[in-house]
């Protein structure tokens, strides 16, 4: 290597890091500055429908007039008479856009928390991104997806429109989370004691919908929804926390563009023709996963764009067996396996409980669902056998 190249490489690697005290000091000052700016009310509050209307110059005056009339007709008493929870539930119910951070726990012994940022427009656009740059953008109207990886590569994907309709109708896993928030009942079952969440005093409300228990944390001062915790009684692996919630805000179309970033390299296209999205493909994929990793465990989750990331991370940690990698399941089968789960209707009550479970562990169910038109559930066990069981025999 030439001397100048050596110097260039050394300067490139030059690294200075902030010590703990400096790190904290700058952050605190920045947060204080952020907070001071936030005292301008229009910036602090999430955009709501009124703000959207008022943004139009043409409607500005008429909207102002309408607001006065409506407030006059409804009366202030009605507004203040509504509980904070009821107002929040109503806001969520009527929202057409959502942005939130989804936190799921990988109970695979690592205690790892997976954070995914979600942006969603009810007109059929969804974007998920992880902190380290794995992004999936879905156009639910056309069936086209783009998966972008931080290594500078991307994959375009298209699925059959019948599949798309099925997923859309039955509830994509993330759409289901949104639906669960939108369907919060008008009244909470129980009020919980006040708790500090991320420095905000919050009032908690517990709501039960079937086997799902939601705890909604609401800012005691502003009435904003701060956090929603969703817990499933019979599948703790699916528990999740939803934070940084904003709804009914304007979302820039550029967030949902299927155009790959400049300079990124395509890694081929994936298409599914609507065939092969079966339980058999799903079981094959589960086997491939469990036999590919050195722990011989099933994946922490079976849906979501971060499943691929988890797999890549296992590879980085040296936990993937080379001989299994690329064998048995190709990316198209992976897609079909994911579609099998995504297409299961809500009534199927599918649950996944395989996180951290070793393949061939005796009598341990990892996935179950009720096929359409049947009474019994199909339960996939850790040895990847399938049995049909009645609802009251399901794992608790």
């Amino acid at each position: 290597m030439r001397p100048t190249e050596k110097i260039e490489n050394a300067v490139k690697k030059m690294n200075f890091t902030a010590g703990a005290e400096l790190r904290e000091q700058i952050l605190n000052d920045a947060l204080k500055a952020h907070e001071r700016t936030g005292k301008q009310p229009a910036l602090e509050k999430p955009t709501n429908i009124w703000r959207t209307i008022v943004k139009s110059r043409i409607t500005k005056l008429s909207a102002a007039a309408a607001a006065i009339i409506i407030i006059g007709v409804i009366g202030v008493q009605f507004l203040t008479g509504m509980s904070a929870y009821a107002k929040a539930a109503e806001g969520l119910r009527n929202a057409s856009t959502f942005v939130f951070t989804l936190i799921t726990q990988a109970n695979n012994g690592t205690g790892e928390t997976i954070k995914t940022d979600i942006a969603y427009k009810s007109s059929g656009f969804m974007r998920t991104s992880t902190i380290d740059g794995y992004v999936t953008i879905v156009n639910l109207n056309s069936g086209k997806f783009i998966s972008i990886r931080p290594q500078g590569i991307y994959t375009l994907c298209e699925i059959d429109t019948n599949d798309l309709n099925a997923i859309y109708k039955n509830g994509h896993p993330i759409l289901r989370i949104i639906e669960d928030m939108k369907n919060l009942p008008e009244k909470a079952d129980e009020e919980l004691s006040r708790r500090d969440i991320d420095g905000i005093d919050c009032d908690g409300y517990k709501v039960t919908q079937g086997d799902l228990t939601s705890i909604v944390w609401i800012d005691a001062k502003t009435g904003d929804v701060v956090q929603v915790e969703q817990k499933y009684a019979i599948a703790p692996g699916m528990n999740r926390i939803i934070k940084n919630i904003k709804f009914d805000i304007e979302l820039d179309d550029s967030l949902f563009s299927l155009t790959p970033p400049a300079g990124f390299i395509a890694t081929g296209e994936l298409k599914s023709d609507g065939t092969g999205e079966t339980e058999e493909t799903f079981i094959k994929w589960l086997r491939w996963w469990a036999e590919s990793n050195t722990d011989e465990t099933f994946p922490p989750k079976v849906t979501g764009s971060d499943v691929a990331k988890i797999c890549i991370d296992l590879g980085k940690q040296g936990k993937l067996r080379e001989e299994a990698w690329g064998k048995n399941v190709d990316s198209e089968q992976w897609l079909k396996s994911a579609l099998f789960v995504a297409k299961l209707p809500a009534e199927s009550n599918w649950r996944y409980a395989g996180d951290g479970v070793k393949i061939n562990t005796p009598d341990t169910p990892v996935f179950w669902y009720r096929p359409a038109g049947t009474e019994k559930y199909r339960v996939i066990y850790a040895d990847l056998t399938v049995r049909e069981v009645a609802e009251d025999e399901l794992p608790r």
Partner: protein, 180 residues
């Protein structure tokens, strides 16, 4: 890069979490850049501090559409230039003071680095400012000569010349290191 789009958008919406994430993501990079430009640990701390505080205050009118990293890089460059202009007459004193402070501080305080980075930075600090800025922006920030030319308001040939001269000087100063 893609994540930055979401962070920028959330930051504009007032998210404290987004500010935190931007901070965690870019603090050390910006600090390395600032140390390289200012060749003074205290000044580098001030530069990065001011850039983040101003950035945090700008959220209401933060309409920047381009690359977040480039934006923050430009902020640090501008802030470094201001700082250096202001402190030009005290430069030598500050270097001495900063070195004394950095030696006295424990690992949990101030700025930390390995020995090689410190030696390299000492050599970089000997370069005239224009050459130093060009070398640091090209090698630490990864900017192309065309981008540096825009930032410096110079022709690409001038920038390439500054880089060449700067690198030659570094080579002669770091002759022993290079031989290793």
């Amino acid at each position: 890069m893609i994540e930055d789009e979401v962070l920028k958008w959330r930051f504009r919406q007032g998210s404290k979490e987004a500010l935190r994430r931007i901070y965690e993501k870019y603090l050390d990079y910006l600090l390395t850049l600032a140390v390289g430009l200012a060749n003074d640990f205290n000044a580098a701390q001030d530069i990065v501090h001011d850039v983040f505080v101003r950035f945090a205050s700008s959220r209401g009118n933060f309409g920047q559409r381009g690359n977040l990293k480039s934006y923050l890089t430009t902020c640090v460059v501008n802030q470094a230039r201001d700082q250096i202009r202001r402190d030009a007459h005290q430069r030598d004193k500050l270097i001495q003071a900063a070195e004394t402070i950095s030696e006295a501080e424990g690992p949990e305080k101030g700025i930390m680095s390995d020995e090689l980075s410190q030696r390299l930075n000492k050599a970089i600090s000997e370069l005239p400012y224009e050459q130093r800025e060009t070398v640091v922006l090209h090698l630490t920030a990864g900017l192309r000569f065309r981008e540096i030319a825009q930032l410096q308001g110079e022709s690409i040939n001038t920038v390439q010349g500054r880089y060449r001269y700067g690198l030659d000087k570094l080579r002669s100063m770091l002759n022993d290191e290079v031989q290793k």
